[in-house]
Amino acid sequence: MELDYIMGIMPALIDGTKETLKIFCFTLLFALPLALPISMSAISRFWPLKALAKIYIWVFRGTPLMLQIFFFFYCLPMLTPIKLDRLSTAIFTFVLNYAAYFAEIYRGGIESIDRGQREAAKSLGFSRWQTMYLIIIPQAVRRVIPPVSNEVITLIKDTALVYVIGVPELMKAAKDANNRDVDPTAYFIAALIYLALTFILTMISRQLERRYSRHERKDAV
């Protein structure tokens, strides 16, 4: 490993990292909020809505992400008039896929809240909707932070999959350098960059957990 060589491939890897972060940020930006109505539908008493949400979650969690990427890349332009570039296709797929995972986590969080909380709320006169946003969701947020953080860390690594449709993110940059120079150094540096990113995310999630666990009751009744 020569320093000159490393300096030579760094700009390409940094550009790749920027693309990776773009996919990552846009996915979170859309998937985290999108998952909320999906999870609400999944626990809704209105069965068509519930069925729809359940099927959505089942399909997106039950098929490989790689397949979904190919599907939207090849089929979307064929079946619909929508024309997306590679990066947008990747983000689109990730948003739909991760929204399904997040929705399932939210649903679990909401359902894990003690039944007594709903009863107390109902007996005080809160409507179902008020109970949800004043009492259930604020408590569920704390519980879903650890599983959501896990998914977020997985997401950083999953972004590497989109090299298959030629999005110039970090993985593709490393692969191109290796193919061109027959030198695995680029993979090594890419690994370090992924590690740094997941390390930062782990730190942030710990921080969040600490902040939100302050008033969590220790003895569940």
Partner: protein, 254 residues
């Protein structure tokens, strides 16, 4: 005039569990009615039906002149629309065995949340009222604490303050001291006895016979989903008529 009128209420769970089997009970303003009976006799179900936590399978419940539910000639159980149910149910407030305080809110916020969001009172007015109520239950110093920082007895006193904050006409207690250590049941019982003195109308499900005897104005004994016997505490405990009640009282003495 009765403030709470329960007529021939039935509640069936599944196909064969008759939790309530033609229960009728009339409660006048200012009465403190203790409901006793062995486990599974339907005490909680009765209270929860009054508070609409359970939907009854038959009968009629009238709270302060408003019909929460009635059953027509052909046996159809009829509830008013949701909004109306909620309005009627704010006339009653429930205190649960397991407190069910909101753990993400401070004690003061637990007490003010419903008045602010449901009665649309101002924050200042609600907070002032809440502090008065915390004073009554002896916990003014805990206004800014969170529920998990309190003992069981303190939690239950906050829960009582939260229920009182809605200015209910009727307070419903479902075994308010059963989840507490024996040494600290007194601090909760004292608060309830204080409400008896203030002539608050109350229905109190309890396994605490001393409390039923000393504090209640009337005792109702339930067995297998029916009210078997009722009357002033002295009469009920000293001259129980039914065999089931005699047995029940013996089980407490023995």
């Amino acid at each position: 005039m009765a403030i709470l009128e329960i007529k021939q209420v039935k509640k069936r769970f599944g196909h064969d569990v008759d939790a309530l089997d033609d229960v009728s009970l009339s409660v006048a303003e200012g009465e403190a009615v203790a409901i006793i009976g062995s486990s599974g006799s339907g005490k909680s179900t009765l209270l929860r039906s009054v508070n609409n936590l359970e939907r009854v399978s038959g009968g009629e419940i009238v709270i302060d002149g408003d019909v929460l539910v009635h059953t027509d000639e052909s046996g159809n159980v009829q509830y008013p629309p949701d909004r109306e149910i909620r309005r009627i149910c704010t006339k009653t407030s429930m205190v649960f065995q397991h407190f069910n305080l909101f753990p993400h809110l401070s004690c003061l916020e637990n007490v003010t949340l419903a008045p602010v969001k449901i009665l649309k009172k101002s924050k200042e007015e609600s907070a002032a009222k809440a502090r008065e109520l915390l004073e009554i239950v002896g916990l003014s110093q805990k206004a800014d604490s969170y529920p998990d920082q309190l003992s069981g007895g303190q939690k239950q006193r906050i829960a009582i303050a939260r229920a009182l904050a809605m200015d209910p006409q009727i307070m419903l207690f479902d075994e308010p001291t059963s989840a507490l250590d024996p040494e600290i049941t007194n601090e909760v019982t004292r608060v309830i006895e204080d409400l008896v003195r203030r002539r608050m109308t109350m229905l109190i499900v309890t396994h605490d016979m001393r409390f039923a005897r000393d504090a209640a104005s009337r005792v109702v004994f339930m067995d297998s989903g029916r009210i078997v016997e009722q009357g002033p505490p002295k009469q009920l405990f000293e001259h129980p008529e039914s065999e089931r009640l005699q047995e029940f009282i013996r089980s407490y003495q023995g």
